[in-house]
């Protein structure tokens, strides 16, 4: 199946959007980990 230039452009934009979404999820999981870890570290017993 031969893609037109417009279809190639759309596929590229979709790929970028997926990459951005995945990167966003990594950042979100990282931030939530820091938030949860932070409060637990503050509340830990010695």
């Amino acid at each position: 199946m031969q893609l037109t230039d417009e279809e190639k452009k759309r596929r590229r934009t979709r790929s970028i959007a997926i990459a951005c979404t995945l990167a966003g999820m990594v950042v979100l999981f990282y931030l939530v980990t820091i938030v949860r870890l932070g409060s637990n570290v503050a509340n830990r017993t010695f």
Binding site: R10, L28, V32, V35
Partner: protein
């Protein structure tokens, strides 16, 4: 899928055809962004008015999960309803009937978003909220879209529950439990949905009739629908004031919800009393437009009272 939908062949319903033509915007449209914005707003209010405090990052994660979950519901709805969407004027421009995204792609996209949003909610926020989000997505897809929508004029009465869950999900995300307050918020949206949708359906009954959807104006006629709109509005208006009664809303909420409820009932009465011609169409359009404003304002006042602390001052002074 019904037999009827299986027989229809259009580019968008033919798996694989034009499978590379959908743009990012088309996939975004698949998530019903306007519905999503209302879902996010009501969920945000549920999150904010819940007791206790939640870290902003966890709040953001909650809203992302709820928004994506709502988008998943929209995409799965567009996958299943592609055949009737193509027939109705209001929905014919959606990406699947236009052939920009194949039905298979919509199904995959919706499934990935649904599973992803529920798992993320469970892992990052809490599992009760994740279960409620999963239940909401499932209810919208299996109960409303697949079961009720094409079978009964009560479709949006029962199916409307799916749209009423978001503030409850927000509350559960913040507290981990369900109490009276989120149930009241649920009830407001639940009772608001029938008059809201029937006001729209009154002017679109031709569309629904062509698509074979048994909306109340199609099966029971305009007069019955107008009476039902009035009855539901009369029940909904006092329910809209309940947050002030149980202490979730303050004086401002009590006054505004009373006024807005009264306007809602007046507009419903106009719909009930004007039954033919342009006046009848205009009355239904006005009620539909106002119903959106009504819900937005009710939740906006609750939000404002909680964020500003005005509510506490008002109750102390009483």
């Amino acid at each position: 899928m019904t037999d009827t939908s299986m027989e229809i062949t259009r580019p968008g319903l033919d798996a694989g055809a034009l499978s590379n033509t959908g743009s990012v915007g088309d996939f975004f449209a698949l998530m019903k962004p306007r519905v999503m914005s209302l879902v996010l707003f009501t969920a945000f209010v549920g999150l904010i008015v819940a007791p206790g405090s939640m870290h902003p990052v966890l709040g953001l994660a909650t809203l992302i999960c709820i928004g994506v979950g709502a988008g998943a519901s929209g995409a799965l709805n567009m996958w299943y309803d592609a055949d009737i969407d193509a027939i109705m004027q209001r929905t014919a421009a959606r990406p699947v009937p236009r052939g920009l995204i194949s039905a298979d792609q919509a199904l995959t996209f919706g499934t990935v978003l649904a599973v992803g949003s529920v798992l993320t909610m469970g892992l990052l926020v809490n599992w009760p909220a994740a279960l409620l989000l999963a239940f909401t997505i499932g209810f919208y897809l299996f109960v409303y879209t697949m079961w009720l929508k094409r079978r009964t004029p009560q479709n949006i009465v029962i199916g409307g529950a799916a749209g009423a869950f978001p503030p409850m999900i927000g509350w559960v995300a913040a507290t981990g439990t369900i109490s009276l307050e989120p149930i009241v918020l649920f009830l407001i949206i639940f009772m608001w949905t029938p008059p809201h949708f029937w006001a729209l359906a009154l002017n679109r009954s031709g569309d629904y009739s062509r698509a074979g959807i048994p909306m109340l104006p199609v099966t029971a006629g305009g007069d019955v629908t107008r009476r039902q709109i009035l009855i539901y509005s009369l029940i909904m208006a006092p329910i809209g004031m309940l947050p002030a009664v149980i202490g979730l809303g303050g004086m401002a909420y009590m006054v505004l919800s009373g006024l807005l409820g009264a306007v809602f009932v007046v507009l419903a009465w106009r719909v009930f009393s004007r039954r033919e011609g342009r006046e009848a169409e205009q009355a239904a359009r006005q009620l539909f437009g106002f119903s959106i404003l009504y819900l937005l304002l009710l939740f906006a006042v609750l939000l404002t009272e909680h964020v500003s602390g005005v509510k506490a001052i008002a109750w102390i002074s009483v």
